[in-house]
């Protein structure tokens, strides 16, 4: 059964049609590469899935149940987590504190509830180990590499027991070695049966990890193919419009 299914999603802002009749489905452990030029509707689609926008038309099903998100927190409660492009981390806090930010573990100290740092560090260490990332829970995020920061952001989604992770340009601003680390993180998520939607401009990265590629052009879905059945040349053609549809 699909973990996420979109049926006929449309979105217009006044007279501007941002998305038109987009349908797609995502299986557990599937990595979907979402591609398209600037203004093709990728971020609008992601914002609809994440609950930032409500679609003008169409239906969203999570694990078969119809959902109507009014606020991002409702999407999050349904198991959808987003890794933002700027990662949304606090530099001055440790990796573990960032992972737990907003849902800290506490223990009682007399009548008070105080931060349970040792438990948070232990859980964070376990999450980093599952992601096979050399990230140390007690290090400040300020001192970390781009790949380690991604691991912290992804560990946050793991802590939330997310079933679907949306990643917005995770490899846009980092070094080649760190790109490899991030792609490995995505493979680890897949291995743990988590569905990933990867929004990226970087063709090699998408072809390296995605099972399937969906191309949007001017708000319409023009292709949805297994990665093995297509080529970077065809995808480029679909993105630019040189190839009409596939």
């Amino acid at each position: 059964m699909s973990v996420l299914r979109l049926e006929g999603i449309s979105k217009h802002f006044g007279a501007i049609q941002a998305l038109e009749d987009v349908s797609l489905s995502l299986a557990p452990g599937e990595v979907l590469g979402l591609m398209g030029d600037n203004g093709a509707g990728k971020s609008t689609l992601v914002k609809i899935i994440a609950g930032n926008y409500r679609p003008s038309d169409g239906r969203i099903y999570i694990a078969g149940d119809k959902k109507d998100f009014h606020r991002p927190v409702e999407a999050r409660e349904s198991g959808i987590e987003i890794v933002y492009q700027d990662l949304a981390l606090c530099d001055n806090l440790t990796a573990a504190t960032n992972v737990f930010l907003g849902r800290e573990l506490t223990r009682s100290f007399g009548p008070l509830r105080i931060m349970h740092y040792s438990a948070m560090n232990a859980v964070a260490a376990k999450l980093f180990k599952e992601l096979k990332s050399e990230t140390r829970p007690k290090d400040l995020v300020r001192d970390m590499s781009g790949g380690q920061r991604q691991a912290v952001a992804i560990a946050r989604t793991r802590l939330a027991k997310a079933k679907i992770v949306l990643m917005d340009e995770p490899t846009a601003a980092i070094s080649v070695r760190q790109v490899a680390e991030v792609l490995n993180l995505i493979r680890e998520l897949k291995r743990q049966q988590i569905a990933v939607i990867l929004i990226s401009h970087r063709m090699p990265d998408v072809f390296a990890v995605a099972d399937r590629i969906t191309v949007l052009r001017r708000g319409r879905k023009v292709a949805d193919k297994p990665t093995t059945d297509t080529s970077p040349e065809e995808i480029t053609g679909l993105i630019t419009g040189a190839i009409d549809a596939a």
Partner: protein, 340 residues
């Protein structure tokens, strides 16, 4: 050889995750508050050797009591600065608090009632600051600059700009509270110690403290995690007003009289103390220990100029240099880290 490599040459993922990048000693040495503390200690030792009067118990008693008021207000300011804001209204809030206390006690009310009302008045100032900053998104600099004027004006209106120096039936208790001492330690210093320890523990060990640091570093990210950033902001400015209110009550007791120019330009000394102690005006960094040491250092400088017979006109030059030096050291270290 290969087995040795496997055991020694390569660390397992568990080992790497268990490592800590900085040793505890390196962490202390990288703290600005530590170096300011060292500077203050060196200044104290030098002054004890250079003058007969510095290390006298009377002088030390005076120094600690004098900086206690600034340091108490600096505790609140440090929280605000960590959260990424600024509170320019603390001097006026202190004055308003002291004036409410004085007027109520002058009218014959008991100390506890007047003190509660004084701190309540300060909290209202903080609440208004916080609501305007969090919900109308007016920059903190503007809101608290306006409040600096407003709160002092309120104190003038309340008192008709007269000095209050008669505190009714509980006068002795008030003077004991602000001007007395126990075991040779001035009461404001005891209050500072308790409040500083409490603030330090709250910042380090509560979710609220962690959220204040998070908001100061990346407000957008903090909001995305579902933390109530607006409520947090209001609480931060109320905190700062609370400390100013407490300092107002104590200072009224020490001075034995309240005028409407009490706490004038106090905000500048308080911000100086926080910044010298390592609080970053961009938000996200600051310590309780640092701001107390910063306040102490400013007072030691002032005191030493008097003892050494140097014109007190030089005080501003020394304090100003320290502010710039402290931040410059921080910048130089940051630049070095970037180029690494």
């Amino acid at each position: 050889m290969t087995t040795e490599n496997e055991t020694k040459g390569f660390a397992s993922l568990d080992d790497v995750i268990g490592w800590q990048t900085q040793s505890p000693l390196a962490r202390i040495l990288s703290k600005q508050s530590f170096w300011v503390f060292i500077a203050a200690v060196i200044a104290c030792i030098a002054l004890s050797l250079a003058t007969d009067s510095f290390a006298s118990s009377q002088n030390l008693f005076n120094i600690t009591r004098n900086f206690a008021f600034v340091a108490i207000v600096a505790l609140g300011m440090t929280i605000v600065i960590i959260s990424g804001g600024i509170d320019l209204s603390v001097g006026s809030t202190l004055c308003l608090s002291a004036m409410v206390l004085a007027i109520l006690m002058n009218a014959g009310n008991p100390l506890w009632l007047a003190a509660l009302a004084a701190i309540g008045a300060a909290l209202i100032v903080g609440l208004v600051n916080g609501l305007l900053i969090a919900y109308l998104r007016i920059p903190p600099f503007v809101v608290t600059l306006g409040m600096l004027s407003l709160a002092r004006s309120a104190a003038m209106v309340l008192s008709d700009n007269k000095m209050v120096f008669q505190f009714g039936p509980d006068e002795e208790q008030l003077f004991w509270l602000g001007g007395g001492s126990t075991w040779g330690i001035a009461h404001p210093v005891i209050a500072l110690t308790l409040l500083a320890v409490g603030t330090g523990l709250v910042l380090r060990w509560t979710r609220w403290g962690t959220h204040v640091f998070a908001m100061g570093s990346n407000e957008k990210a903090t909001n995305l995690t579902g933390i109530n950033v607006r409520g947090l902001k209001v609480s931060v400015y109320m905190c700062s007003a609370f400390f100013a209110g407490v300092a107002g009550v104590l200072e009224a007791g020490w001075l034995g009289g309240v005028t409407t120019n009490l706490g004038q330009s106090l905000e500048l000394s308080v911000i100086a103390a926080s910044v010298i102690g390592g609080a970053n005006l961009m938000g996200g960094a600051g310590t309780v220990f640092g701001s107390v040491v910063g306040a102490a250092l400013i007072e030691v400088i002032r005191n030493s100029l008097i003892l050494l017979g140097i014109s007190t006109f030089w005080q501003g030059a020394f304090v100003g240099s320290f502010i710039i030096l402290a931040v410059a050291f921080d910048r130089i270290r940051a630049l070095r880290d970037e180029s690494r």
